[in-house]
Symmetry: C2
Subunit: 151 residues, 2 copies
């Protein structure tokens, strides 16, 4: 009876199968961009989620925590700490909601607005870097197709 030959080593890993799945590709692409985001936004002391929150408040002054949670798929308990932290940094204020005593309207402070003008400019540069290999048309196509997946 012949001995079982030793299993050969893998020289080059074949990723063909996974690379055919949209989910795998979307996740890999998201991780690369988020990693760049983390590094570039560090100077502002903002993580991606902080940037998203502040940006939504920036463009929707008076937005409530509940609306932020629904928009960004964040659980309410997990937003509490972020809001408190950003409030402690004087980047936002919590004001009484005009017609719902339970809710609180969120607004950027003057320094919060200043920070976000800079941060959103940086985000645009980062966007150009990420899409450096894409034409303007391809970039628009990519965003349109991604939105078809999740909207």
């Amino acid at each position: 009876m012949p001995e079982k030959p030793p299993a050969p080593a893998v020289e080059k890993v074949k990723t063909t199968y996974l690379e055919g799945l949209i989910g795998y590709n979307a996740r890999r692409a998201a991780l690369v961009i988020i990693d760049a985001f983390l590094q570039q936004m560090a100077v502002y002391g903002l993580r991606p989620v902080d940037f998203s929150v502040l940006s939504l408040i920036h463009h929707n002054p008076g937005i409530t925590s509940r609306q932020l949670c629904a928009t960004l798929n964040i659980q309410p308990p997990n937003l509490v700490g972020m809001i408190r932290s950003l409030e402690n940094r004087s980047l936002l204020t919590r004001q009484p909601h005009p017609n719902d005593g339970r809710a609180v309207g969120l607004h950027l402070t003057a320094s919060g607005q200043e920070l976000m003008l800079d941060a959103e400019r940086t985000a645009q540069e980062l966007e150009s870097d990420a899409a450096a290999g894409l034409t303007a048309t391809e970039r628009k196509t990519l965003i349109r197709l991604l939105q078809k997946i999740y909207l």
Copy 2:
């Protein structure tokens, strides 16, 4: 001096700014697909990362932990538990590496191969669902553009 008017409430949240960023869209799309993946793969007892690991072993028998880590951007310590768990379920075996005494070659067992044939078929169905709103051409374009971001 007139009283400051109360800040108005936000009726509809404007997400225009964030929706113009590739990273935001890629992450949202990835989360939607991964969520569907989690639900569909639950019957196999596989999380997305388990599926990725087993799939790579399936298509690269003899692959090492180190190669898996490099391919999937996993830290080695975080892979140890996954491998052990999959080995305990008799889905894979660890065999001596043919030409490196430090390394271990990973192989699917017969039941591991059976499971992955089913799981990969399910993944394909899930892929069709995710891309339900896309034409075949759009799906290929999406994957091609995503790979331009991260490869």
